[in-house]
Symmetry: C2
Subunit: 675 residues, 2 copies
């Protein structure tokens, strides 16, 4: 398909409303025709596909590459050793590089393309996506974002071509989330003009370091120094050699394989102990601070806290990548579960054909809100990527904070959601969802699971969201500007709380599907949680100090962060509804948006505790959710078809894109039966 045709379709599909207007017009009630409950019109799948994806050419190119290399499309679950799996991942990477892709350039300059690649590869092999993340986002990203032009010039091409595989060696055995607690030392020896990098005790051994066990030749090592030139200046990052060109370990470097893991065995995670490893002074990645020949320290940034934040801030790219990959996995799992459920028949009325399992409300209630959430996450993720690109371009400070919050929150929300969702999708496919061959491994949580932990433990990341919201909330009363994503919080916190009692009891479907009601409800929740959290923290802090006060309120903190992310998701979803000019696609998207929001409003107890939603309204919402599940079921297959994952990538005989082939025939053949 030509890029031109895509561009034309894009123009047809996307209304030219600027983002700001789109989200405010999302608050306008929809015409009645979109509200009434009835069959959703069958939309044109290609139109929807093109509305969703504005990089179809990249997708076609990448997936075509793997069509030409079927030997690379093997599943981890098929009894590979970790060494075999790692070699497979390296082969995949080499094929991508040989085809002319330049992942390091993407990461450094063409961000949207990089993140799209991460999402696309997640369905090839999650280990491959992570390998890409380790090499380009973590290792390469640390060099180009924490280093200066000198480092970039020296290493860029070798990193890009994988001639210089490297690591980002942050996590230690005893310190993961608490980065400020890292203990690896870097001390400057002014006599030799070298840093001495040292692991002071076993707890400080670097652990889970991707690329370390087999491939890594160098590592970026973030280390607070115990003594010496950087004393009291906080965490800094150094480039430390691990292996020479022949692959032999560098003097003073001890590396062991972290061994088999529950999943992602295509990644060579290793544990590293440094025993007084000497590296040149220039190996300090010195964008935020430098040390001269005499050992004098200087930094353009005034405080150690700001420097620490700026250093860690450069890790946002990794979280954006994980969010994209996780959405990719979710799309894959849903594609299989929806298609299988639509064709698998079991039980039926007496003397009548059996019924498709997707026609059972139990299956619908599992899969339809998940499909709605997947779409919402997809649009929210697009927004995140867009903001990230803008931030990289403008370096605007408010935007930096916004992207930091949104990437932390969406990474946490998406990866937790996807992990749970995959399990449910597997269960929805019964026994056939448990087969690894031919790969239904998209239905296996083993690999996606750890996404909840790495690049920031989800519980910790969610706290960062709340912390930033609180900070901005307090600042806003002092007149500072607010980022677009959370500007609603100020308005709402000052707005009429508690709710209007009339609205509390309103049960009309046109009200319940009015975007104004839905957005207001989710925003009300975040604002209310923020408002009450601020008050509780103030109260407790006076008595027990900030650390304990925060932890006393921890569940409240987490609820606020999730609520905020869901309100962002809804707004982006509704903006997409508005941006979609094809009426049929739009109807389905609107139904998904409503289902997503109503599902959250119904299940979140916060609304009940506040009497924001009266019991009879809750019951009306539940009836509407059931009805919407039924409606969406009618277009569920086209909705996953629009993800347009080619069969040779999905590799699931129970989730084939065509309905003209008996779905079981490939399955039988793969097991060895002639048919």
């Amino acid at each position: 398909m030509s890029a031109q045709r895509v561009a034309v379709l894009q123009r047809q599909l996307q209304a030219t409303i600027p983002a700001g207007e789109a989200s405010s017009s999302a608050l306008q009630p929809q015409p009645t025709s979109a509200i009434a409950l009835r069959q959703l019109p069958r939309f044109d799948v290609t139109l929807m596909e093109h509305f969703l994806d504005n990089q179809l050419a990249l997708k076609a190119e990448v997936y075509e590459l793997f069509r030409q290399h079927p030997e690379l499309l093997v599943a981890e679950e098929e009894g590979m050793t970790k060494e075999e799996h790692r070699e497979l991942v390296r082969k995949c990477l080499r094929v991508i590089l040989a085809a002319g892709f330049s992942p390091m350039s993407f990461f450094a300059r063409d961000h949207a393309k990089y993140f799209n690649l991460a999402e696309l590869l997640s369905l090839v092999d999650l280990s491959l996506t992570v390998k890409l993340g380790v090499q380009y986002s973590l290792w390469g990203g640390s060099v180009i974002n924490l280093g200066t032009e000198r480092h970039r010039r020296k290493y860029f091409d070798d990193i890009d071509r994988f001639r210089l595989p490297g690591c980002f060696a942050m996590t230690e055995l005893k310190h993961g989330s608490n980065v400020a607690g890292l203990q690896t030392e870097a001390i400057l020896d002014v006599h030799t003009d070298e840093w001495i990098v040292n692991t002071p005790d076993d707890g400080a051994i670097k652990w889970w370091i991707g690329n370390a066990a087999e491939d890594g030749k160098m590592a970026t090592v973030p280390s607070p120094d115990g003594s010496g030139a950087l004393d009291d200046h906080g965490v800094h990052a150094f480039i430390v050699p691990l292996r020479d060109d022949g692959g032999a370990l560098w003097p003073g470097v001890e590396i062991h394989d972290c061994g088999y893991k529950v999943g992602l065995n295509g990644i060579d995670n290793g544990a590293i102990r440094f025993t007084s490893v000497r590296v040149p002074r220039e190996n300090l990645l010195d964008r935020f601070a430098t040390v001269d020949r005499s050992g004098r320290y200087s930094s353009p940034m005034t405080s150690a806290t700001k420097r620490f934040a700026a250093t860690l801030g450069e890790l946002t790219g990794g979280r954006v990548g994980l969010t994209c990959a996780s959405v990719g996995v979710l799309k894959g799992a849903l594609t299989i579960a929806v298609r299988y459920s639509a064709q698998r028949q079991q039980f039926g009325p007496p003397d009548a054909p059996e019924v498709a399992v997707l026609d059972y409300p139990s299956q619908q209630m599992k899969l339809m809100p998940m499909l709605a959430t997947c779409y919402a996450l997809y649009f929210a993720k697009n927004k995140l990527v867009e903001k990230y690109c803008e931030m990289k371009r403008t370096k605007d400070e408010v935007l930096v904070a916004d992207v930091h919050t949104l990437s932390a929150g969406l990474k946490a929300y998406t990866t937790s959601y996807t992990n749970t969702a995959i399990g449910i999708c597997r269960e929805c496919c019964g026994g056939h969802g448990y087969a690894a061959r031919p790969a239904a491994s998209s239905l296996c949580t083993s690999s996606a699971d750890i996404f909840q932990t790495f690049e920031g433990d989800n519980t910790v990341l969610l706290q960062q969201v709340a912390a930033l919201l609180l900070k901005e909330y307090r600042d806003s009363f002092r007149g500072s500007p607010l980022a677009a994503t959370w500007s609603y919080l100020k308005v709402w916190a000052q707005d009429s709380l508690p709710a209007n009692p009339l609205v509390t009891h309103e049960t009309d479907v046109s009200h319940l599907r009015d975007p104004a009601f839905l957005v207001r409800a989710l925003r009300y929740r975040s604002a209310r949680l923020l408002h009450t959290l601020a008050a509780r923290l103030r109260k407790h802090s006076r008595r027990v100090g900030e650390f304990t006060a925060w932890n006393k309120c921890l569940l409240h903190v987490l609820a606020l962060s999730r609520a905020h992310i869901e309100s962002v998701m809804l707004v982006e979803m509704l903006a997409a509804v508005n941006a979609c000019v094809d009426p049929d696609c739009r109807r389905s998207l609107k139904a998904l948006a409503d289902l997503f929001a109503l599902d959250r409003i119904y299940t979140d107890i916060t609304f009940r505790n506040d009497d924001y939603i009266a019991p009879e309204k809750a019951k009306a919402i539940y009836r509407l959710i059931e009805a919407l599940c039924g409606e969406v079921r009618g277009v569920a297959v086209p909705l996953v078809d629009a993800f347009a994952i080619p069969d040779h990538i999905l590799r699931s005989p129970i989730g084939l894109s065509t309905t003209s082939v008996d779905p079981y025939s490939e399955y039988l053949a793969a097991a060895g039966f002639d048919s």
Copy 2:
């Protein structure tokens, strides 16, 4: 430890209240001392262990066996091929048999011992538990329960010694849950006095049959006949040979390996096609129906429906076994997560030591209600085993229905719960919970996942619970007797509904922790759901017929079944509190019971929709849940220590039973570091 000492301790610990009285006295308020919120006393772990487990000798014996065979304690995640894993499982089984255990005798006569063995082995290797289930409960069980003395005599010893490995070949490619839809044919050839067993089309190929791919020499094949002697008599079971003594396939039998699965690769699942396989007439398992030399059919049971129910009813044992194994897995995962969280430190107040992650409310809210649920499931499972044994002894019809319902419901509830719980436990252990070596594979859902599907899909099983409750509910109005487990439903459905408005608003802690309130609340919910479901079904059935009416109400049906199981769990948990005479143990058990019940009452929206729990009461419950999480946290480690899983079985360096060893040292050594 001697059996005698155990018996003495048992007497000390268990109050001699008969089961019936125990559950009614569970409704009495506890003395105030047990209600007040404060630190729970540190109890004696050995006392608790002995209170929990009345087969300590079996446990010691089985686990000692594996201590002597460390070569068998390898984890599936460590890069084994499926063939290697299957051989490992066979070796384990042989060791068990060589030690003098007779699993077939246990299953046939010493039921409690059999189920206990299933639970114990679940922590050795889940594939081993399933292998045991396939050979003894499914294959052996079908022979002894569906066959007659003749079959038992002929096969019992060979099955027991694994000289005759066999299968229970029920599931077909296109029919799993809908057993009545099976299509494999068995037709009697009166001329040769043989059954001709045939697979009419590819959809009827037997699929996922455990023991089939490598080991099976025979299979029990439940088949409805398309024509011939059994015409219109429904599903019957036949013994069909698969392989001769040399392992060669029997004429007309085609078997293929189902290949790699997401987990449980130690089980040789196979797919079987029968092409007119001839078996002697005597191979019909004829306890419920027989066919004579002339082809005349006779059955002691009057209707095909009853015969079908009786045949499937004999599968309850499998569900009891899976429930036990699933509780075992949950205990293992919790043991690791709680111990690790208690010692892992991360972050802390300024200039103070870091804090154990278990001290964070976020971690407590994940793990403490789970610990409470684990105890509740454990006691409920014990009750199920007890009832099963009684049913086998008395063959009482009401008890048969009770055990059928309870085993279906508990299997579904436990396996779903455990699957979700393992994932949360893994996340609670961060990166170190993701290592497969040394095995933290208890934190991996891959194997436990499929428990939700096999031996009855959970969604289907839950419907059976509701169906039986409805039947008995209707019968009860005609004066039929009710089983003990659900007798409350009748009383409550006739009792004062809706709730007393005073109780709805009562927020006092002594009220909220009063067993009478807790039991009443959970029973109210089930009774109300049953009552309203019956009314809805009546209404819809008139219009759209029973099948559609049922499916229209499906989510209501599932909610009822889960609610019923939770009310059973609470009553058994409170009965255990009453039966425990050690005051310290009892205090902890009571706190767990309260936490379990309050957690369910708070999170289930049903209570809010009915206004049974007013918002201010809900908030008081939430505060109490938070406080109870804090209390239970104080005894969380002893509570998992009381499960007494030996370190060599748990094989988790981050979950060691002793606190005297640095938990990381074994971990470091395993990775290859000298320390």
